[in-house]
């Protein structure tokens, strides 16, 4: 069986969970086995929805000790569930949670693991799966040579596919100890979709000259329902908050659309964004290196082009 851990922070299933279950179903089909989902914690809303995306069963370990994240407890819970259900392959989302679990689970389950998988596996005698390496500058194929396998799936690697019907949720009786951690959370990005999950991103760089000029960036993002990002110097000088910094040392993203405004396209910046499906570059310098990585380019002054683009989007909807 393929067991997919569906993340539900605060009781709400994440988009990443629907991607993971869609992926898990395809892996299960490849292996000729069933695909089930597991949720952790009390009060997970609408877990039966996972059935629509490919889970033939949905399980829940409804312990309040799993309401806050603790990689030690989560690993034990998922591994125990896999053992009880006879699952040999576990799929996770490559989120801050999944990244803390992937290697742990691999050790606990004596499994080979690939974290941040970007493609579907192949199984022609040996089980292989691809992932981006060298900060998106190459793709590597990994071979997993153990019976048990753990894979964490990169965000936006595939689209959730709603094909089936809702299923019921079964409680799993698994002993969960108390956490040795106390955790508290605070939000930082307001109403926007968090950067690692965003499908549309509007990003701007040092060419904008100062934080007072970000109004048009936020307006453009607002119209598109996009999340805002920035280059490193912009975050380092405090024009924008650190969590907006994308690139080699910041957040690595792979949205469907990345609009880069007044960013030169240094190699360390590209490292975090070059897996985006479509890249639009707006820069007044036709020689800016970013144009080489772009799908669409506009050579012009951002202070003139961006307001025009905002108007064009407004009048097209």
């Amino acid at each position: 069986m393929v067991l997919v851990y569906a993340e539900s922070p605060g009781g709400q299933l994440k988009k990443a969970a629907f991607e993971a279950i869609t992926y898990g179903k395809k892996v299960a089909d490849l292996l000729g086995v069933d695909c089930a989902a597991i949720t952790l914690g009390t009060n997970v809303a609408d877990a039966g929805q996972l059935g629509k995306y490919g889970a033939s069963k949905v399980y829940n370990i409804g312990s309040a000790n799993l309401d806050g994240f603790d990689s030690q407890l989560y690993t034990k819970a998922i591994a125990d569930a896999a053992g009880q259900l006879g699952a040999t392959t576990v799929i996770l989302s490559h989120t801050s949670t999944g990244k803390s679990l992937c290697g742990r689970l691999a050790v606990r389950m004596d499994a080979g693991s690939v974290s941040g998988a970007s493609g579907l596996p192949t199984n022609d005698g040996s089980f292989k799966v691809t992932k981006g390496v060298f900060s998106g500058k190459a793709v590597a194929t990994y071979e997993i040579n153990t019976e048990n396998k753990v894979i964490s799936l990169m965000g936006n690697a595939l689209k959730p596919e709603d094909t089936g019907a809702e299923v019921g949720v079964d409680a799993l009786g698994i002993e969960v100890g108390a956490s040795a951690l106390t955790t508290a959370q605070s939000k930082q990005s307001g109403e926007m979709v968090p950067l690692p999950e965003a499908e549309l991103v509007v990003s701007a760089g040092r060419g904008l000259k100062g934080p007072e000029n970000w109004g048009m960036i936020e307006e453009l993002a607002g119209i598109l329902g996009a999340t805002t990002a920035c280059s490193r110097p912009v975050a380092d000088t405090g024009w924008r908050p650190h969590h907006e910094h994308v690139g080699q040392t910041g957040v690595a993203i792979r949205p469907n659309l990345y609009i880069a405004i007044a960013i030169s396209g240094a190699i360390q910046h590209l490292a975090g964004v070059n897996s985006s499906k479509v890249i639009v570059v707006i820069n007044k310098d036709p020689e800016a290196p970013f144009f080489k990585a772009a799908d669409y380019g506009v050579v012009g002054d951002a202070f003139e082009v961006v307001p025009r683009l905002i108007e064009a989007f407004k009048s097209s909807t």
């Binding site: 990244k99 290697g103 499994a111 060298f134 999950e197």
Partner: protein, 246 residues
């Protein structure tokens, strides 16, 4: 406080990425190596700061061949007290984690620091593996760490927010931007590093349950389509009708 910092060696961020041997191996020709930035700038420096404030020691560990000694010396020059090199050419994350965990068990450290990921293979899984081998808590993507006695408070980046975790030692942590500020080794540090102990140990047996078998460069962009800056309606049309992205 007895601290262990895991350091790795990666190609410089500007390296040209190419493959050899039928695309089965990374082409190291002409590659300049650096210490993985997350290990050097954040994990190592924060460990050294804690030692400076509260006493104790900072040991660095690397799993790799003798050619890594230069990178290890740099860590000693920045301020680590001693080093362990596990003499092996690693093929998998699991192998590396097993070696680190063996040394960590033997040393009885209060905290084990790693970088959030290596910038070559972008695994971000060795820290979790080490924590499981040690059966200790693991806090990934730490951006802030305060510790007094055996109590610590860690802030970590999560999607769209920050999580604050309180816990007691021992534990394993991976470092992200914000945990500390990069330190440049000074001449005195470099001189002192020459005499600091570097213990070379042989690896324990371990499996390689997941290994890379081939590489591929992403398809090259077909070239940028330039749009007239006066005509943003055209860009919107292209995004809708050609790219079908919005």
């Amino acid at each position: 406080m007895k601290l262990l910092v895991c350091i790795s060696k990666t190609p410089d961020t500007t390296s040209k990425i190419a493959f050899t041997n039928g695309n089965s191996e990374f082409d190291t020709t002409g590659i300049q190596y650096i210490m993985n930035p997350y290990d050097e700038w954040y994990a190592l420096v924060r460990a050294i700061e804690l030692k400076e404030a509260a006493g104790g020691s900072v040991t660095v560990i690397n799993v790799g061949p003798a050619t890594n000694d230069q990178t290890i010396r740099k860590a000693l020059a920045i301020g680590a007290d001693d080093a362990i090199r596990v003499n092996a050419e690693p093929k998998s994350s699991m192998f590396v984690a097993k070696q680190i965990a063996e040394q960590a068990k033997a040393g009885g450290y209060d905290m084990v620091f790693l970088g959030k990921e290596t910038i070559d293979y972008n695994g971000s899984e060795i820290g979790a593996m080490v924590a499981e081998y040690l059966d200790q808590p693991y806090i990934s993507y730490a951006t802030k760490l305060e510790a007094t006695g055996n109590q610590a408070t860690v802030e970590r980046d999560i999607e769209g927010g920050i999580e604050t975790v309180n816990l007691s030692t021992p534990f394993v942590l991976s470092a992200a931007k914000g945990l500390a500020e990069q330190r440049i080794p000074n001449l005195r540090g470099i001189m002192m590093a020459i005499r600091k102990p570097m213990n070379v140990v042989e690896p324990v047996g371990a499996n390689d349950p997941a290994v890379t078998v081939s590489f591929e460069l992403p398809p090259a962009k077909t070239g940028v389509k330039l749009v007239d800056p006066e005509n943003m309606g055209e860009l919107v049309r292209l995004l809708k009708e050609e790219a079908k992205i919005i």
